[in-house]
């Protein structure tokens, strides 16, 4: 279901790609076309969050022919996929490091939609670039502030405040600069299903953003969650993320690695926390597609209190340049 929706999305952003699916749905033939971009709209399947679609769009968007401006509709926050809030907070600063920036780079949440019915809407816009800059991103720096959003739709607005309260209780032990916004959507902006959740981001002095998030169980599935508990757990997840550390959030490891690979023929370096299974799988894909191997070194921090071990990933870009961008 969501795969079909994803394929349709890909079909929309490309020009000249051929997609054939056999009748039983067991085999897929895909011949890639050129990335086209432009102003689009897409209804995502509510079985997966928008984050699922947005992640792949984040990889593709810088290499379109025309700047991408797409409206995605579906589930903005759920328990499975990285939510739009998190991607907005973490992926965009990451893209900026690679030279993809400008006015038009933005993710805007127009409406929130919680599973199972969704009803959220976001706007994603990204400029196009010809080449990416290599990055040397090895010093995460110290965390200077913690921000976050506690959202609640179609439930009591008090929920958000309760979450914030409990999360602050934990985080304030480490840092005084903690500010968590409460975001209560009303009316048509609140989607079709009730729910609440929270996402937290920790920003360092060097511009690294680490994040964690949690969302309530969707309506009719599982036991009800107490907002206090959720807030606490979310804060602890953030601490866990900080413990893992690295210059890139664990969700965006693969994005960073991909952009490094697609950079110019220069050495790029990035310090990551422990590699997630998804990233490991992704690295294998990178090798099979681009014949690129990363140099992987483990770094143990000299100081004791900076969390777990880190991995320094180094690679030489393949010298990819945007083949679809028109020259004038």
């Amino acid at each position: 279901d969501f795969e079909a929706s994803f394929i349709r999305l890909i079909d929309k952003v490309t020009n000249g790609s051929r997609i054939e699916i056999n009748q039983t749905g067991t085999s897929l033939y895909y011949q890639p076309g050129l990335l086209y971009g432009g102003s689009l709209e897409h209804d995502c399947s509510p079985s997966r969050g928008i984050g699922y679609y947005l992640e792949s769009l984040l990889c593709l968007a810088p290499f379109m022919k025309h700047p991408l401006k797409i409206v995605l509709r579906g589930v903005t926050n759920d328990q499975v996929d990285p939510s739009v809030d998190v991607l907005k907070a973490t992926a965009l600063p990451l893209l900026k490091k690679f030279g993809i920036d400008g006015e038009s780079l933005e993710i805007k949440i127009n409406r929130r939609g919680m599973p199972p019915k969704g009803g959220g809407e976001i706007l994603f816009a990204c400029p196009v670039r010809k080449v990416l800059q290599p990055v040397q991103f090895t010093d995460p720096g110290k965390i200077k502030r913690i921000r976050g959003t506690a959202y609640s739709v179609r439930v009591s607005p008090q929920m958000a405040n309760r979450m914030v309260e409990s999360a602050r209780g934990i985080l304030n032990k480490f840092l005084p600069d903690v500010y968590i916004y409460t975001d209560h959507m009303k009316g048509v902006n609140s989607g079709k299903s009730p729910g609440f959740g929270m996402c937290l981001t920790a920003e360092t002095i060097n511009g690294t953003v680490l994040s964690a998030e949690l969302a309530s169980n969707p309506q009719g599935q599982g036991a009800a969650v107490l907002p206090e508990e959720l807030g606490q757990n979310c804060a602890k997840l953030l601490l866990e993320e900080i413990y893992r550390g690295g210059c890139v959030d664990s969700t965006n490891q693969s994005l960073a690695l991909l952009l490094m690979t697609l950079g110019q023929r220069d050495v790029s370096k990035v310090l990551l926390g422990p590699l997630s299974p998804y990233t490991i799988e992704f690295l294998r894909h990178l090798r099979s597609f681009f014949q690129i191997m990363f140099k992987i070194e483990t770094k143990t921090a000299e100081e004791e209190h900076t969390g777990g071990e880190k991995v320094l990933m180094t690679c030489v870009g393949i010298g990819f340049c945007n083949l679809s961008k028109t020259m004038r």
Binding site: G16, G33, L34, Y52, E55, V80, D81, P82, P134, Q136, K142, I143, K144, F174, L175, P176, L237, L239, E240, I242, Y243, G245, S250, T251, Q264, R265, D266, V267, K269, P274, S276, P277, Y278, T279, I280, E281, L283, R284, F290, Q291, I292, M293, K295, I296, T298, E303, E304, H305, T306, G307, G308, E309, V311, T314, V316, I318, F320, C321, T326, M327
Partner: protein
């Protein structure tokens, strides 16, 4: 003479000397000239005009910025590939002579025939690959793409030829390499003046083509068929100091100019089907960018392929090692040109021979100095066979002549040594005989000089071998080399080595020594080597310096041992088998390095061993004999592993990587062992100890690194996924936090697979309420502890020190910094001085002094930073950034060996690589001609795809015809040459792309074609045919790629016409434009127009005649009007893409490729006349005489008109009627008389008047005469009087002048 009275000196009054003196005199006085005034009083000369000053400033700034280029990251490798020098020119201009002379100049060798590229070492840091370019346009295009430097030969006696200009234009399109002109045939000029003139003319023309001031060389005369030595030397100097600019295409794509080709097809396949697709291997230096394995490449003239295998080989024409000499040794002047038969290989029509006796001098040189080099060469020659394992064509070739044994393989490279005297032609025949000699010599261990040399060589090899294990950087090649060397006729060398190995084995590993063969061998050989040992004793000392403290080397030595063992087995075996063994070794060694890293246990090691052995078994598919052998080796290895298990204290292999388990004890013991070993090995290993040390150190460093990296790398890139899972399960308990999380158990993996989600779920969250857990990330926050240099408190403190002392000006209170307040004596400067005077260098004071210096330095740095900031521009910053990146690029992988580097970054430019390609058309091999360059151009991602490409194109000014849309055209774009059918178009202002039938004459236009996708901004050129030679300029068009797409919208105009069949006032019904109501419906609202210019709109379809419609116009139409609607019809681009396969043509016809013909050509060939439309023929225009009716103005209107505009049609007057005539007059007689008298009187009067007039005129004449006389006299008098006066005046003047002259001269004197 001397007695003669000397003339007195006279001071000069004029001339330069006097002038100079005067000047000096004036200077002394302080009143110099203007220049001095400017110097003396600069303030007076500062700004005279602000505008002018601004202008000059702008101008200088402009000039400055003009010099800027966009900074690019310098990606040239440390050891760059040879510079490609392309020698180009029309036929018979002396290209090959120049090449020969250049080669002779650089290497003191004479090549008889030049075929293909010749690589030579031209300097300490520069190598050249010289290649000749014929005047086939295919060759010219291909070579222009890879050239770094172009030597453009011009026949001065003839002048420029078309080829020269064509090549220049090709260069311009594909990035402009450096171009140097060379004028030849200058000796044909007898007249010196003529020569000078021609030179000048040619030079200026050349400058306009290339750039003003481009270097043009003159090769004046020929001496014995060669150019003059000095001139060639100068040319060589110029070439070897030339700097090159990076060209975009070349730096972004890897490419190889192949200098060797070998066929690897199974001969059986060829026998069955002689036209089957071939498998070939090509050799050459990699240039440009990094090449990755399995990437796509294009061979211009052949087609697209996927690289099936790449491997790097030792450099056949290596740069000399770093020395402080100024010039090259005779031995270091290498030349490598396998296609021309230098370097040991000769190409025949259908076979490849190893030329053993050829090019004597070359071989001699090489072998005298660089035994390694020839080894390498021989290795190269056999390399293909290694990889094919069994039946490469080459091996089979040899089999035809002699059965190939392992000895033979060895002989191949020992050969040249011995065969210096052997004739070129008989080289192959004589080979055997020589080898026998060789063996004998070896057995005898004769003390020839030569032999000694050889021994040394061998020693070197041995020592290298010893270090080989350590030396990861030379990985496979070296091992292969060593193996090959060992397996062969150079028995003694091998024995020596094995002996070394044995000794080590005995010392170290009893398990090893268990195999009885080894023991026997060693005992035998020990006796033999004793005398040699004594020979080498002198060189022992260095050996003691060898340090084997690291465990890593330990294992490496074992590896060496193992190899030695296997070698012994392999000795008697066949060549192929040997190779299989070699191939077995490399994975094994890798396994040793990688599998055991991190958490390896002995069990695992044994497992990996078992795996390896199984691999080996799989590999050995040869005869039963071989299998036996293999089993033996397997057994051996199993033994090893068992031994290891048992011998856990020793920790033979596991030790290498498993640092955690290492006890101090172990280390100590190892050291002891090593010392022992050093003693022993010192005896045998001699010559290259220093080298060994180096390599060993490098290896150690590398190993340390490897150890530090856990098996993460293996985890990520492990070959088998199942393996990994197993391991992860095994290791789960042992590993720390990092590894635990990174290795999901199967369930979670499945889950991840199922969900395909990038979120990193936390399995076992730590309890963040605990204090110690909390403290583990305490320092991640700004509130935590900082590093020393960044700690805020510290920084503050430093600041305090720096700025602590200050005086409050308002209150006059002097605040002192803390340090000062603490009782620092040297607060003020005077005190400091005092301190210095006291000169009591107490430690405390020194410290303080140091602090002060530090402070001062810091202040200075800050000031510098602040001050310099103004100067730095954006450009500088950018440049700095690029420079940093370049540094990083260089440094990042520098310390790693080639094997791993290749994995990370691909094969880097400068490497000598061997590229295997499958499915090559058989014609390429059958019709191989070394004169034509073979280029392997790497393609970027998706550059192998095809799609629609849009170009900006301009017909070349010198091309005589214009190009027609949809006519086949051959484009050279990227690496490729291909025929395609472009459509030309123009872009309108509204972005519409409108088809053109022909290219405009002197204008850019767009072109779109179906073809390979090439990055935007790539230049291209078009030719209409590549076959034959045409007298005219061949390049039809040039341009650049603009856009790539999968669909394209080029439209052409289509006018639909219709006729009115019913006309109302402004509305009319129109038929004949469309065929159905539906069509009309589609065009509702479209603008239509009549031929006479009346505009209108389509309204609605009518029912009655099909396709008719109602339309309204701005005026009433006539029935005779034609109405039309303008529409745009999309044109489809023919999907025609045909690569030019010129290299597949049989030899001699390679320049005769002709693809699709244009219709015009076809018609011409077949003699078909085009049937013309009668309507479009021109006919003579016949114009009828036009007849106009009279203008008729209605009476009413006429009346109303003002008089001015009224038609004035006055009728002619008729005859005056008789009644209006006037009557005649009849006079009376009296009246007649009166009138007669009156007339008589008037006549008289008239006569009188006449007379009087004549008289008066005469009188006047007289008077004038008199008057004139008087005047003359008067004038005369006056003249005389004037004369007098003037004379007086003149005298007076003279007098005055005289007096004034006197006065002035006096005045001057006074000055």
């Amino acid at each position: 003479m001397e007695e003669k009275e000397k003339k007195k000196h006279r001071a000069k009054h004029s001339g330069p000397k006097a002038e100079k003196k005067r000047k000096r005199y004036l200077n002394d006085l302080g009143i110099g000239d203007e220049e001095n005034a400017r110097k003396r009083n600069p303030k007076a000369f500062t700004v005279q005009s602000a505008v002018r000053m601004a202008r000059t400033f702008h101008r200088t700034q402009d000039l400055k910025t003009k010099k800027h280029h966009i900074p690019v990251v310098d990606r040239t490798p440390l050891e760059p590939p040879p510079v490609v020098v392309v020698v180009v020119g029309p036929p018979k201009v002396g290209k090959s002579t120049v090449i020969k002379c250049l080669i002779k100049n650089f290497t003191r060798q004479k090549l008889v025939e030049i075929r293909g590229p010749v690589t030579i070492v031209s300097g300490k840091k520069r190598r050249l690959t010289i290649i000749e370019c014929g005047c086939d346009i295919n060759t010219m295009i291909d070579l222009a793409k890879v050239a770094d430097l172009v030597l453009m030969l011009i026949d001065a006696s003839f002048g420029f030829e078309m080829e020269t200009f064509e090549f220049l234009n090709i260069c311009q399109v594909h990035g402009f390499p450096k171009i140097m002109g060379v004028l030849t045939h200058l000796d044909t000029f007898k007249n010196n003046k003529q020569l000078k003139k021609t030179k000048k003319k040619l030079k200026h023309r050349f400058w306009t083509e290339v750039y003003p001031g481009a270097k043009l060389f003159y090769l004046s005369g020929m001496v014995h068929g060669e150019y003059q030595k000095q001139e060639i030397h100068n040319l060589g100097r110029f070439i070897s100091v030339m700097k090159f600019r990076p060209l975009t295409w070349q730096t972004s794509h890897p490419y190889v100019l192949a200098d060797r080709m070998e066929e690897l097809t199974n001969p059986e396949d060829v026998r069955i089907n002689p036209k089957c697709d071939r498998k070939i291997s090509l050799y050459g230096y990699l240039r440009g960018a990094h090449l990755k394995n399995k990437s796509q490449i294009h061979m211009p003239g052949v087609g697209d392929f996927t690289v099936s295998d790449v491997s790097f080989l030792p450099d056949p024409c290596a740069l000399p090692e770093q020395q402080k000499k100024r010039s090259l040794n005779e031995k270091e002047k290498l030349v490598y040109a396998p296609l021309s038969g230098v370097g040991g290989i000769v190409y025949d029509k259908d076979a490849v021979y190893i030329d053993l006796g050829g090019s004597h001098a070359h071989e001699k040189e090489e072998e005298e100095v660089r035994p390694n080099h020839e080894l390498v060469q021989s290795l190269i020659s056999t390399h293909s066979a290694i990889d094919v394992k069994m039946a490469s064509s080459k091996v089979s070739l040899f089999m035809d002549s002699t059965p190939l044994g392992s000895e033979d393989v060895g002989q191949e490279f020992v050969m040249p040594k011995e065969e210096r005297q052997v004739d070129v032609k008989t080289g192959r025949v004589r080979r055997k005989a020589v080898f026998e000699d060789n063996e004998k010599e070896n057995d005898d261990a004769a003390s020839d000089e030569e032999d000694d040399q050889e021994e040394e060589d061998e020693e070197e090899a041995v020592s290298e071998d010893g270090s080989d294990g350590d030396d990861e950087s030379d990985a496979e090649e070296e091992s292969e080399r060593v193996l090959l060397r060992e397996g062969v006729a150079v028995r003694r060398a091998k024995r020596l080595k094995t002996e070394v190995a044995q000794e080590e084995a005995v010392n170290e590993l009893p398990a090893f020594a268990d195999s009885d063969d080894d023991l026997e061998m060693s005992s035998e050989e020990e006796g033999e080597t004793v005398p040699e040992d004594s020979e080498m004793e002198e060189e022992e000392e260095g050996n003691l310096q060898r340090t084997y403290e690291d465990e890593s080397s330990d294992s490496e030595f074992e590896a060496a041992n193992k190899r030695a063992e296997t070698n012994q087995y392999g000795m008697n075996r066949e060549n192929t088998e040997l190779k299989s063994q070699i191939s077995e070794h490399s994975p094994k060694r890798k396994a040793v390095l990688t599998t055991d890293s991190g958490n390896c246990t002995a069990e695992e090691a044994s497992e990996s061993e078992a795996e390896n052995s199984s691999l080996e078994e799989g590999d050995d598919e040869g005869g039963s004999h071989e299998e036996l052998e293999a089993e033996e080796s397997d057994r051996n290895e199993l033994q090893h592993s068992q031994a290891k298990k048992a011998d856990s204290v020793r920790q033979t292999k596991v030790k290498t990587v498993d640092t955690e388990d290492d006890d101090v004890e172990n280390l100590l013991r190892e050291e002891e062992e090593y010392e022992e070993k050093v003693d022993l090995s010192a005896d045998t290993t001699g010559a290259l100890k220093w080298k060994e040390d180096l390599t060993q150190k490098a290896a150690e460093a590398f190993l340390r690194q490897q150890r530090s990296t856990p098996n993460l790398r293996k985890l990520v890139y492990g070959t088998a996924v199942e393996d990994e899972d197993q391991e992860s399960e095994d290791a789960d308990d042992e590993l720390g936090g990092l590894f635990r999380v990174s290795r999901p158990d199967k369930a979670s993996r499945q889950k991840a697979n199922a969900l395909d989600c990038s979120k990193f779920l936390v399995e076992k969250p730590q309890d963040w309420d605990l204090e110690e857990v909390m403290s583990s990330i305490r320092d991640c926050f700004v509130t935590g502890k900082w590093e020393d240099d960044k700690d805020a408190a510290k920084l503050l403190e430093e600041d305090e020190e720096l700025y602590g002392d200050f005086e409050d000006l308002e209150t006059g209170v002097v605040h002192k910094g803390r340090a000062a307040a603490a009782g620092e004596q040297s607060g003020s400067e005077e005190e400091e001085e005092e301190d210095e005077k006291m000169s009591k260098p107490e430690p405390e004071e020194e410290e303080k002094k140091k602090e002060r210096m530090d402070k001062k330095r810091k202040l200075k740095e800050m000031f510098d930073a602040e001050y310099d900031e103004g100067d730095t521009t954006y450009f500088d910053d950018l440049k700095e950034e690029m420079h940093k990146q370049a540094q990083l690029n260089r440094a990042e992988f520098e310390d790693q060996d080639d094997e791993t580097r290749v994995q990370y970054e691909g094969f880097r430019p400068g490497m000598y690589v061997r590229i295997e390609i499958e499915n090559v058309p058989c014609e390429f091999v059958l019709n191989f001609d070394p004169h034509y360059p073979i280029i392997l151009g790497g393609l970027g991602n998706s550059e192998g795809n095809v799609g629609y490409v849009q170009l900006r194109l301009k017909k070349h000014r010198w091309y005589k015809k214009i190009l027609k849309s949809r006519d086949p055209l051959i484009l050279s774009l990227g690496w490729r040459r291909f025929q395609t059918m472009p459509l030309f178009y123009m872009e309108d202002h509204n972005g519409r792309q409108r088809l053109l039938k022909y290219t405009p004459q002197h204008l850019h236009c767009g072109a779109a074609f179906w073809g390979p996708i090439t990055p935007q901004g790539t230049g291209f050129l078009a030719v209409q045919s590549v076959s034959g030679t045409t007298p005219d300029f061949r390049i039809a068009a040039t341009g650049v790629v603009l856009d790539l797409d999968k669909s394209i919208t080029i439209v052409k105009k289509l006018k639909l016409t219709g006729f009115p069949f019913k006309i109302f006032k402004n509305t009319c019904f129109i038929k004949g434009m469309f065929n159905s109501q539906l069509e009309v419906a589609k065009f509702e609202g479209a603008a239509i127009r009549s031929v006479s210019g009346i505009r209108g709109q389509i309204k609605k379809a009518l029912r009655a005649p099909v396709g008719a419609f109602r339309a309204t116009f701005e005026d009433k139409l006539l029935m005779s009007d034609i109405v039309f609607v303008r529409t745009w019809y999309p044109v489809s681009i023919p999907m025609f893409y045909n690569p030019v396969t010129s290299l597949l043509k049989p030899a001699g016809e390679k320049d005769s490729w002709s693809g699709m013909k244009t219709t015009g050509q076809l018609r011409y060939e077949r003699g078909i006349k085009l049937k013309q439309n009668k309507d479009s023929l021109y006919k003579p225009i016949v114009r009828e005489k036009r007849h106009f009716n009279k203008l008729h103005i209605p009476k009413a209107l006429q009346k109303a008109l003002p008089f001015k505009n009224k038609p004035k049609n006055l009728e002619k007057k008729g005859k005056t009627p008789k009644d209006q005539w006037r009557p005649a007059v009849i006079r009376e007689p009296h009246e007649k008389k009166i009138s007669a008298l009156l007339s008589a009187l008037s006549t008289v009067n008239n006569y009188k008047i006449k007379k009087a007039k004549v008289k008066h005129r005469e009188q006047l004449k007289e008077y004038l005469k008199v008057k004139q006389k008087e005047d003359e006299q008067k004038f005369k008098r006056q003249k005389e009087a004037k004369k007098k006066v003037y004379r007086i005046l003149g005298q007076r003047e003279k007098k005055r002048q005289k007096s004034s002259l006197k006065g002035s001269s006096k005045g001057e004197k006074s000055m």
